[in-house]
Symmetry: C2
Subunit: 260 residues, 2 copies
């Protein structure tokens, strides 16, 4: 149901009319630096709206020619890379308002693949036009730098998780992080639907599926969370943060040291 709410919000504008950044309910998130109205109008003019992706469809594949970055409007995506021996490593999940494809900037080809976890709509921002536009708009330029540096900071936190945290800390961190991201988007930080499978959670967190499943079970037995399939309810947020070895400060890691 969270999911349907996301969709509703994201798809408030169809392809024919009102597909405008200025009236988009997500614009304050995907462009947190306030661009002035004229700037937004200009950005708007280069954005292409695309038909929704069905679950399992690729937005782009590792090796495809890099042409655009994307903002998620509704639904969700995963990024993953392939190892030589063919198994995948998920490097990120993307929720509405988040930018996808920044790690391909200045590349000939996308270094990762992006696949829809559910029905997903995106705004396509052709990079050549974004670059040209950012030549004129210093605020827009700063905005892109800001997004990339935020992703760098998140990556470092992910390395910390993969290098130092145990299974319970990893899963708790993951849930706390998702919770914070839903909250920012105006949804309940306590009750939400996981758009990804247990397998994908394990893959992302460097754990076996069975371990993820066991940790979920343990977390339920201590009344910290309640899980029903993909529906998650956080019963004891404080305990979750303690297990994750996080504080409110860390949860907002992406923003904690942001300028302005």
């Amino acid at each position: 149901m969270i999911n349907s709410r996301l969709q509703k919000k994201g798809s408030c504008q169809n392809l024919n009319k009102e597909t405008r950044c200025m009236t988009c309910s997500l614009s304050s998130l995907c462009l947190p630096l306030s661009l002035n109205l004229e700037d937004i109008d200009q950005l708007d003019s280069i954005i292409k709206r695309r038909q929704p992706l069905k679950k399992g469809e690729h937005l782009f594949r590792q090796g495809n020619a890099f042409e655009s970055v994307y903002a998620v409007r509704s639904g969700s995506l995963k990024n993953y890379i392939m190892t030589n021996d063919g198994d995948e490593q998920i490097t990120n999940f993307h929720l509405p308002s988040e930018l996808v494809g920044l790690d391909g900037i200045d590349c000939i080809a996308y270094p990762v693949s992006a696949k829809a976890l559910e029905t997903t709509t995106v705004c396509e921002i052709p990079y050549s036009r974004l670059q040209a536009l950012s030549n004129q708009l210093p605020d827009l330029r700063r905005q892109i730098f800001s997004c990339m540096s935020k992703e760098l900071r998140e990556d470092k936190q992910m390395m910390l998780l993969l290098s130092k945290k145990n299974a319970e800390q990893r899963v708790a961190t993951f849930l706390a992080n998702l919770s914070a991201r839903f909250k920012r988007r105006g949804y309940s930080p306590y009750t939400f639907r996981l758009p990804m499978s247990r397998n994908e959670i394990g893959n992302y967190l460097g754990l076996a599926v069975e371990t993820v499943s066991r940790v979920f079970t343990r977390f339920q037995s201590t009344q910290m969370i309640a899980v029903n399939g993909k529906e998650v309810h956080i019963t004891d947020r404080q305990q979750l943060l303690e297990v994750a070895d996080l504080n409110d400060y860390d949860i907002e890691i992406g923003n904690k040291v942001l300028a302005q």
Copy 2:
């Protein structure tokens, strides 16, 4: 001895004269996109040269006001973040010509600390001035985007390593990666000196010191490498790449898909 060569190369210009990007032997690496001569001159004018850092000194600490990014001229640095319970996670090592501090862009404070592993000299690039200059120089702007996106790609590879690779694959990947970086700088890819301790290698790779030590021993017993303290000689590069589950393509990951 590798080290002394690096220093010699990096310190070819002292603080009084010839401290110029244009004549710096590293400029083709730290600014791979060819700026034209006037642009280099302008960049040059904003760069501050600093007194060398001694081993163990901080270039900046997590939480310090973000003011500059740095290019390593000689020596080496590590980046690390602190967990709540006080132990460190190394997120990167930096060799000459590499940029330090990009993940702080658009932040009030540095999100990580940077500490010298040995006597180290850096070029300081005040960010406010870099930003102002990049308003005028599209090539410089592209260059910064390029560096950040390269770091993003490297981070994803690091996640893959931490999530999927076993101890031997991690150490082999680490050595192969260092080897490639030395090679790019004009040094032997086969014989080099590790600027970091076994402890730091373990910390970075998500392994206990003892495990790193044991893997080094095993690699020596199969004649793949020869180690004497911090001196490393790669005897069988092909085998090293095989163990690392890498190919020549991956080794150049940072560059493999670069435009132009």
